[in-house]
Amino acid sequence: MNIIIAGDGEVGVHLAQSLTELEHNITVVDPHSELLKRLESETDLLTIVGDSTSPQVLRDANVGDCDLFLSVLHEESINLVTCILAKKMKAKKTVARITNAELLEPRHREMFRELGVDEMVCPERIAAKEITNLLNNTVATEFFDFSGGLLTMYVLRLDDDSPVVGHSVKELTQLHPDLQVRVAALLRRGETIIPHSDTDFRGGDLAYIIGRANQVENINRVVGKEAVNIGRAMIAGGGRIGRYAAMTLEDKMRITLIEEDRRRAEELSAQLEKTLVIHGDATDIALLKEEGLQAADAFIGVTDSSETNVLTCLHAKRLGVKRTIALVENTGFIDISQDIGIDTIVNKKLITASYIARFIVKGAAVSSKWLSGTNAEVIELIVGKWSSATRKPIGELDIPQGATVGGVIRGRETLLPSRELQLQQGDKVVVFALPKVMTRMARLFE
């Protein structure tokens, strides 16, 4: 697949890197020559220095042959103009990164389609949505729905005293025959393990569990986690993520939002109905305490500074806040942040990449998610008519090392992928795979 990425920073670079791993032909257009030089030396792709709103630059990037055009600059209007130009110059599909969630409203969709912007992605909005989901489901550090909620993937951190620690996957199914889930992967000290029946659970593992949505209670019971009811939350940082999160959460819980910039705080107080907007520095722990950090059930660090987010979350954790979520922009920090005890890390780059990946995997990828902490990806695929997977039961399929089938959806029914299960055309399979084998998996079911 020929993909052009117009970017001006880390999101574009991250996308380029992860897409190259999936064996696509990537061209990056970016005004920063230094960044591109570094990128080209590290990754196998083509770079063009220039302004993506210039038709000549687009022509140089061979936009006419491109299957997917991604415009992920910071500036929304540039992305829109770039996509419109690219579409006019015969790009097959265009995706623009936007910052104003108003554009995503369904009633505007047709208008943007006509203009030439096929899809829009608002990372801040998705990040905020993830935060909202996480506060509603307080046990999982991350979770993701497939097929409108028929299947769910939970990511749980196993505590040292969890009853499952020390047992193998096989023992787990023997002990709890009613537990209708599948452990798709374990993340242990930065290493992704695709478990087989003899793999042991260990304390500190991050378990990726796929199951029906109604299994959440069961999982919590077995793993020994208790759901926390979040009644008060404190958000540090009134950027877009903080604002969207406060907007969606303020009807359900009491929100205190801390913003450093006076004018921004005033804007926020105008836009938010019930949230208590505080003007102050999020690193000022005395201020946080004064505003009731100890009484909060959740702390969400979403300031522009990853370090501030991590540190304030740690502090909140020490003061007994049950749930901490930090925005960490530096992907290198994600692993360590989770190791030192922050419940969940949100990363805009991963989110954007996850979202965009669904346009990329050939065949009928319905949805996909890039996971934080591991480079693996979960993806939902539709089994094609001529797929070789329909000829043999799952146990006999040639599933490569580093990939696993987590669940199957047939019609409105969900099935657990036992070795004997025979896939049919039209089934949706949830596949968990490392990037190097993702394309092979996709081809298998295509």
Binding site: A265, E266, S269, A270, L276, I278, E290
Partner: protein, 484 residues
Amino acid sequence: MNYRLVARIAGVLLLVMAVALTAPLAVSLHCGDGAQYGLALSAVVMLAGGLLLRNIVGRGAEYAMEARESFWITAVAWIAVPLCGSVPYLFTGVLSTFTDAAFESFSGFTTTGSSVVARPEEIPRGVLLWRAITQWMGGLGLILFVVALLKRLNRGSLQLYAAEFSGTQQRKLHPHISKSVSRMWRIYTLITVVLVVLLAAAGNGWLDAVCLALSTVSTGGFMTAQYGLSGYSDLTLAILTVFMFLSGVNVALLYNLFTLRWRRLRVNHEFALYTGLFLFAAASCAVAFAASGNGVGESVRYSLFHIASTLSTCGFYTDGPSHWPLWTSAVTFLLMLCGASAGSTGGGIKLRRLMTLSIYLRNYLTRMVHPHVVFSVKIDHKVVAGDYVNKIFGFVFLYICFIIGGAFMLTFSGQGIADAFCYAAANISNLGPSPLINSLGANLDYAMLPSLAKWTLMALMLAGRLEIFALLAIVSPSYWRSRR
């Protein structure tokens, strides 16, 4: 100061009055009530005065205006027009003293409805109609007349509009101010015509229907008989209840409603509060009346009518229950001060202002616990600017000062202290007559008041109608110090 322009505008207003006088004149000629000479003479005087001011003094006036002119014009209009409007009462001999005539005229133009005419059913029909017309002219605002008529004012018209309509602060109906204003006039006229037709259909004579309609739509409250509206049928009173309620609603809202511009109808918390307050007050008063021994049907009907009349500051009343429970008096007094919606023809402090203040105060209390909190005062999900909030504080303070000052003057002129406060509050809120004042034992007879009291009340009416600031601007020292 652009005196020529001021003169020209005053002239235009006089000509408008001269034209308006032709209707009472026609009625007088038709009925042969003997007032035709007086009315004709008044019309001639106004015509002459208007032509003199507009075409001779104000000739070649430059249509350039700044804030100071706009205040000056507003004040001139609101003082000179009611003074001239008193001429027909004097010339027809209905009222003998200048004070009484001025009182009646001020009360009409400010849509207060306090009357010194003892027996309205006995005065010439033409004068009765003139009384009603003054209210209708004042209802939407004299300045709005000017703005609608003088399209060349352009930029200045916005300042005039702001000087008179200080309470609204909302989107105009049309990008052009004169178009917005003419839309307001159109809806105002439309409602009036509909009401006239309905009242006539309900079996009232045309003159009665017109007089009542003009009084209702402008929330004036001049009545056609000595003892209120007791003589009218239940159907008539029901129609009036509905239209009194409507008259207390923001005119722009009514415009969007009646012209079916549904998409412009957004959340309007003021309207919700207005409706809620109306229903709550009417229900509670009905219960209070019924509990103190009146019939249930009568209590409900009377409460609805009375609360609509008080909340919209119209001021109609009928023969009600003889015994007033304390609750009802208290509610009436409060609603009288609250008044109608901003941008309506009604008076009072206006609900929008009270909402703004209560939100501000709630925020203020939260700030005591959270010293670093950042707030904004929002109404209908829109932020109210800080200086506007300050202005409202100033307004309410002045309002209270005026009531206290007015009550002081009234007490000084010989009224009981409770009566004095009731008179002051009823007139600054442009309510006018109210059975509450009766219920307190005072006789609802403005004619008996001494001159000092009458002039005090006139000042209060004007202050209430102009929402104080426009009036105070021209007497403030800084206004005169910066005079060029």
